[in-house]
Amino acid sequence: MSAYLGQIRAIVWKDLLLELRTRERVVAMGAFAVLAAVLFNYSIDRTVVRPQDVGAGLIWMTIVFGGLLGVGRTFHLEAEDGALQGVLMSPVPKDAVFLGKTLSNFVLLYAVSLLVVAVFMLFFGMELGASPTMLGLALALGALGFVALGTLFAAVSSGTRMGETLLPILLFPLLVPMIVFGAGATGRLLSGRPVSEVAGDIRMLAAFALMAVAAGAVLFRFVVED
């Protein structure tokens, strides 16, 4: 078991190190987060709509679109010199490869989603609400479900002629539950509702994330084998 975890850790370490060196994705996603909020500001008439009313939804959509940027390139660096082949031919179980990739994607996306919330608070004067921890948890579970499905489909789409453009078509229908429960919980938390009202949402987000990670771990091997 510890060997298994060690292999996952090696993959996460490698991905995060690469991200640190290249800063490709984190800069793109971070810039997107800020710029999207700017565009939103100009797209709403603030005399008619209060940002607080639509804030939760905008936050989650920004995270989804930004996340798409990052997750689409999951296997980009592996493809350059055939490194993915090298990893797949090593004695690492395919589910461990998936879990490692998902975990490193999660770290990236979670950091970005916290940035998104911070930016929205700054630009639109929104408050964190009663329970920042619950908000953080909702974001974490949503991000986890997203990256699990995203990593699996990134592997699928990088094996097709259409590549990353296929990703939204595959992902978006499946993300409806995440948006419903995630944005729902966020909206309630941001408008000061008590934590008890979002417990159900959090549970559903957790179940969704669990399903996504488990299904991805099992199905990944069928995607990457050749």
């Binding site: 090696a10 490698k14 690469l18 004695p91 179980p93």
Partner: protein, 249 residues
Amino acid sequence: MAPESESPPPVASKPALEARGVVREYGPVIAVAGIDLSLERGDFLTVFGPNGAGKSSLLGLLAGALRPTRGEVFVDGTRLDFGAVEWRRNIGVLSHQGFLYAQLTVAENLQFYGRLYGLEDLERRIPERLAHVRLEDCSDALVGQLSHGMRQRLAVARALLHDPDVVLLDEPYTGLDPSAAAVLRGVLTELKDGCRTVVMVTHNLGEGLALASRVAIQVRGRFAWRGSREELDSNDFERLYHRVVEGRA
């Protein structure tokens, strides 16, 4: 009357690497059309053949990178099972792609693969391997800054890092300058230590013959010619090769 006691039947040693009727299709294209091979420990098989003969696919099948459409591969007598992963510890693959991360250093690349293979003593192993391929001074250089020859040498170090019994090489001499080729030749010669089984695919008739104990020529997915090195006259081989490839042997 009780039969006289016979000496126990000789234990058939399992071939180190074996393929039985392997076929590999990509939709309508048949890359490998049914190949049998059986190699003992210490064998060094070089496979020659024109482009499109399916040599890389054959190597992929032997490496467990490709699933055979039909047929089976056996490593040390055990059937290759895509579900299991332990058998991969014993196989080292060198492709024309290096499997390297350009944005990591030489040492970091080896550390990564070392951890994937669960190797314990990386602090000792990595400098050793780098010295082996004459890259000991480049430990902290980013792979992206290395020349092609140096990257290929690093790829060799990576392929052999875990001391595999079976080594598979796909066109390793491609694009190498003479000094890099010499280093590679030295490393490959060392592989012929009687314990390791090597299969090399190459266009380079000279290098390929120099190290081979067995030779095969693959044409359109099949072995059109196969034999041992001793049967061959190295001067004559080029003519034999062309005859086979053009279908006149």
